[in-house]
């Protein structure tokens, strides 16, 4: 039996050795040939490299997510002013933003003028919006939002009061958590107070709201209280009347004069004693 087995084995070894060729009868190589001739290689390699493929897919998903996040991340452009400084900024659609002192405005450069024109601001700013009915222009402050198509207006945001003054065109003014809304037209102003959570609309034109831009303060039969308010606002100081003259009115125009000169003129004209006490 053993002998027979050895003889048989010797025969098989001889048989195999006789046909042996280096690199022949390679099952993997043969399968690749078979598969490629039948266009099934791709399916097979996908299975074989399943983990590789899965890893690639995961990586792509990761990259895709990253790109999406990256693409959707706002690209803020912010402009700020120091107290007393003013700046004129033209937005990509050539809308003018005139920033008063100690204010900022910002917009997302990636989205601005794509579907909407949205800016955010704090402080005081005058807007002269280029008309584009397809892309409404909106300004958000911490408590309010102004939406327009193409007008010029000013927003003055103070800690408890936000005021909008419309110079030309039509403005939609929304304020508070309740989204209270008013439509304002040229010459109208609206104030939102975060204390009583109400919008108050004033129909009379207040030219001095833009004095910081024009450099001109105009008074026409203006009550003294209002004169004091406008001067305080323009020169950013506290002004008090140390005389007791109620009910006097002022008609005058000042072109960016020093405060001391104005106070002297007003005091002499109205016989009052206006004193600038301190900087705000």
């Amino acid at each position: 039996m053993d002998n027979e087995y050895d003889k048989d084995l010797e025969q098989r070894i001889r048989f195999v050795a006789r046909h042996y060729r280096e690199g022949s009868l390679d099952a993997d190589k043969a399968w690749r040939k078979f598969a490629s001739e039948r266009a099934i290689s791709r399916k097979v390699s996908l299975r074989r490299y399943w983990f590789g493929a899965a890893a690639v897919v995961l990586m792509l998903v990761g990259l895709g997510t990253w790109f999406t996040v990256e693409r959707n991340a706002p690209d803020w452009v912010a402009i700020t002013t120091a107290p007393g400084q003013t700046k004129d900024i033209y937005l990509p659609d050539s809308t003018l933003v005139a920033l008063a002192g100690d204010s900022w405005v910002r917009y997302d450069a990636k989205r601005y003028d794509k579907e909407r024109r949205a800016v955010e601001m704090n402080g005081k700013a005058f807007f002269q919006v280029t008309r584009n009915e397809a892309r409404p222009f909106s300004v958000r402050t911490s408590q309010t939002e102004v939406t327009v198509l193409g007008t010029s207006f000013q927003i003055d945001e103070k800690p408890t009061v936000t005021e909008v003054n419309v110079v030309t065109g039509k403005v939609s003014f929304t304020a508070g958590v309740e989204k209270e809304n008013v439509i304002l037209t040229a010459g109208m102003s609206a104030r939102y107070s975060s204390e009583n959570k109400e919008i108050t609309v004033t129909e009379e034109d207040d030219v001095n709201k833009l004095a910081w831009r024009t450099g001109q303060l105009r008074f026409k039969e203006t009550p003294l209280d209002k004169v004091i308010e406008d001067l305080s606002d323009y020169y950013q100081v506290e002004i008090t009347n140390q005389a007791k003259n109620e009910g006097v009115k002022l008609t005058a125009t000042f072109n960016d004069l020093p405060l001391e000169d104005i106070l002297q003129v007003v005091n002499q004209t109205l016989d009052v004693r206006l004193v600038s006490t301190s900087k705000k």
């Binding site: 098989r12 070894i13 001889r14 022949s24 009868l25 399968w31």
Partner: protein
């Protein structure tokens, strides 16, 4: 024996993956089976490729093959026989291979063992493989191999005994597997 009896692969429209598995495990034994009828390794590989192609097409057409392995051996035998019967010249037909009349199971088992031996040769270290092939394939005597490779006869004997030992161990493992 166990393996052959239980290995009744039913082939009801098998998947590409299953097909690939069968292809890779059966390819070498089938080639060595074909080499019993025909002489050239390329021809044997072509025949086995064709046999698999036939099964692939049948499988794609939804035809069920009861015992894939038996079917393939039969197909390779038929293709090999018709290949050798293509009368290229008179001499070729006279030299019909003396195929022993063995059972189908015996054929399969032997071809699988041949495949293992082929792999064992594949795995021999290069120098030992060269010596082994000069002896067993090319029929050189140890003395001739020694001269050819500029080695001592002792070295050739030594390498040959190591090569044969490796092949025997492979063969024994196979027998153990079948009969153990």
């Amino acid at each position: 024996m166990r393996r052959i009896v239980t290995d009744n692969e039913r082939m009801a429209a098998i998947t590409t993956q299953e097909f690939e598995h069968h292809f890779k495990s059966l390819y070498k034994p089938l080639c060595l089976f074909a080499l019993r009828y025909i002489d050239q390794v390329e021809d044997a590989e072509d025949i086995v490729q064709q046999a698999f192609a036939d099964v692939w097409d049948k499988n794609r057409a939804g035809n069920t093959i009861g015992n894939l392995k038996a079917y393939l051996y039969q197909a390779v035998r038929n293709r090999s026989l018709s290949f050798t019967l293509q009368p290229v010249n008179a001499e070729a037909t006279e030299q019909l291979p003396d195929v022993e009349d063995t059972s189908e199971e015996e054929d399969i088992r032997r071809s699988e063992r041949d495949a293992r031996l082929w792999e064992a040769i594949d795995h021999l270290p290069p120098e030992r493989k060269k010596i082994f092939l000069l002896s067993k394939r090319d029929g050189l005597k140890y003395q001739e191999i020694a001269e050819e490779l500029n080695l001592s006869v002792k070295t050739v004997e030594n390498q040959m005994s190591k090569a044969l030992k490796a092949l025997r161990e492979t063969a024994i493992r196979i027998y153990m597997f079948f009969f153990g």
